[in-house]
Amino acid sequence: MSGSIERNLSALAEAVDHSQASGLVHGLDPRAKILVTLLFVIAVTSFGKYEVSRLMPFALYPAVLTGLSGVSPGRVLKRTLIAAPFVLFVGLFNPLFDRTPLLRIGPLVLTGGWMSFFSIIARSFLAVSAAVLLVLTTRFDLLCLGLERMGIPRVFVVQLQFLWRYLVLLAGEAQRMVRAHTLRSWGNRSGVSLKTFASLAGSLLLRTLDRAGRVYGAMKARGFDGEIRMLRPLSFSLSRDGLFLLAWGGYFLVCRFVNLPELLSGAVGR
């Protein structure tokens, strides 16, 4: 358990390092990136449930963004695969229930169930990779600021900010508790028992509440009145961010409403 906390912490630190790097994609206004990601997810999820081939052109977006941002493809892939188990469960029973034959490739018959299963996997893979790229290429504070400027209620944005700030601390505290527990439980290979886990989690909650009280005190001591103010002008440049938004938005529209794979195969066939 302590090992997995450590791994997650270092993954988090890595994400922070990446989001702080500078590059073509990193320098874009967060609002442009958020909007493009949103459009991408909407476009990808709006297809019919048996659609697989028409999703393929959308893979261009994560591929190009990975290339431009300089984030290693392996890292994007790894983060994207974290969602895989959930997706597998969502689609798991489709092949069992939906047995209408849809496609015949030689002796192989693909049923509607399998098609929708692949469709779910392709969609989620695309959508999650776009989200992963957004987070890996945008500093979290700028991401929050972008959300706020786009009209997301401040309460939610502040929640996100504090979650981000104190996640590392909370994880560190949990890690130290688990270590202390491990050091005093020799030969107990099954890890933390349910009973111990309950008291560990309980005292973690109490510590967190204490900390929350102190942080609130520190905020009040510096004149906090319910509103968090920040000096961080975002500049939306039309030639850079506008172009990014227009180009990808246009591409997604085309992919959504024009059957590119069919057109291409038609052209090749002729």
Binding site: D141, C144, Q161, R165, G217, M219, A221, R222
Partner: protein, 247 residues
């Protein structure tokens, strides 16, 4: 500028469970004075600092900060004039980057952008932390966190600084920097600490708290020579002076 005084009269506080943490504490700090607040664990230091900043409201007695008597109504005004540096810097640094954190207070005071930027850069340089401005707060070292925490308070231009264990957890170099910084400040300073050597370096005056009361108040050099008093209050003669005595 003689109004930067802190006058505490018969301060009392009892926690909701009935524990009396402060049983009538009185003292007065004059403008620019550096005073140490020492005492064993549970002597009432932390409670007193919370009460001075109005983060808890005393159950009796008065706190007069430069002519303003602390009450629920005046708490916000008093906090503007008192800068409180928490023991755990993690509690003090809650914004995503160092710049945002130092700018938090000035922005709450409703200053213009240029003024805020100026305050932030002055505060950071006074705390020796200019180079950290763009760093995320959770990636700083312990010493850097302490400097930035002090800068967040300096940026509010307080008249009075209250510091809770400012030297704890610092390496010798960080501690030396801190001592130099604290000595140079011209604010009225109240420093709660167990580090009596730090007190010797920074504070000409010392108040000893014992079981919620003032056990002694006077020149640091005199108080630290009274081994019996220190013993009774569960403290001890600072290391440096012990050497002096044995010579």
């Amino acid at each position: 500028m003689s109004h930067h005084y802190l006058d505490v009269r018969d301060l009392r506080y009892a926690y909701p469970d009935g524990t009396e943490a402060l049983k009538g504490v009185s003292f007065r700090l004059e403008h620019g004075e550096a005073c140490a607040l020492v005492g064993a664990n549970g002597a009432g230091k932390s409670t007193m600092m919370l009460a001075l900043t109005g983060l808890i409201l005393p159950s009796g007695g008065t706190v007069d900060v430069g002519g303003t008597v602390l009450s629920k109504k005046t708490a916000a005004d008093v906090r503007r004039r008192i800068g409180f540096v928490f023991q755990d810097s993690e509690d003090q640094l809650f914004m995503p980057t160092v710049f945002d954190d130092v700018a938090f207070g000035p922005l709450n005071q409703g200053l213009s952008e240029a003024e805020v930027r100026n305050r932030v850069s002055v505060a950071l340089s006074e705390a020796g932390a200019e180079h950290l401005a763009d760093r995320p707060t959770h990636r700083l070292s312990g010493g850097e966190k302490r400097s930035v925490a002090i800068a967040t308070v300096l940026a509010m231009l307080p008249d009075i600084l209250i510091l809770d264990e400012p030297g704890s957890g610092l390496d010798p170099y960080g501690r030396r920097l801190l001592v130099g910084m604290l000595r140079n400040f011209r604010h009225t300073r109240l420093i709660a600490t167990h580090d009596l050597d730090l007190v010797l370096d920074v504070c000409p005056r010392t108040i000893v708290l014992h079981e919620g009361k003032v056990a002694a108040d006077g020149p640091t050099a005199d108080i630290f020579r009274r081994a019996d008093l220190l013993e009774r209050c569960r403290l001890e003669v600072p290391f440096r002076m012990q050497n002096g005595l044995s010579k």
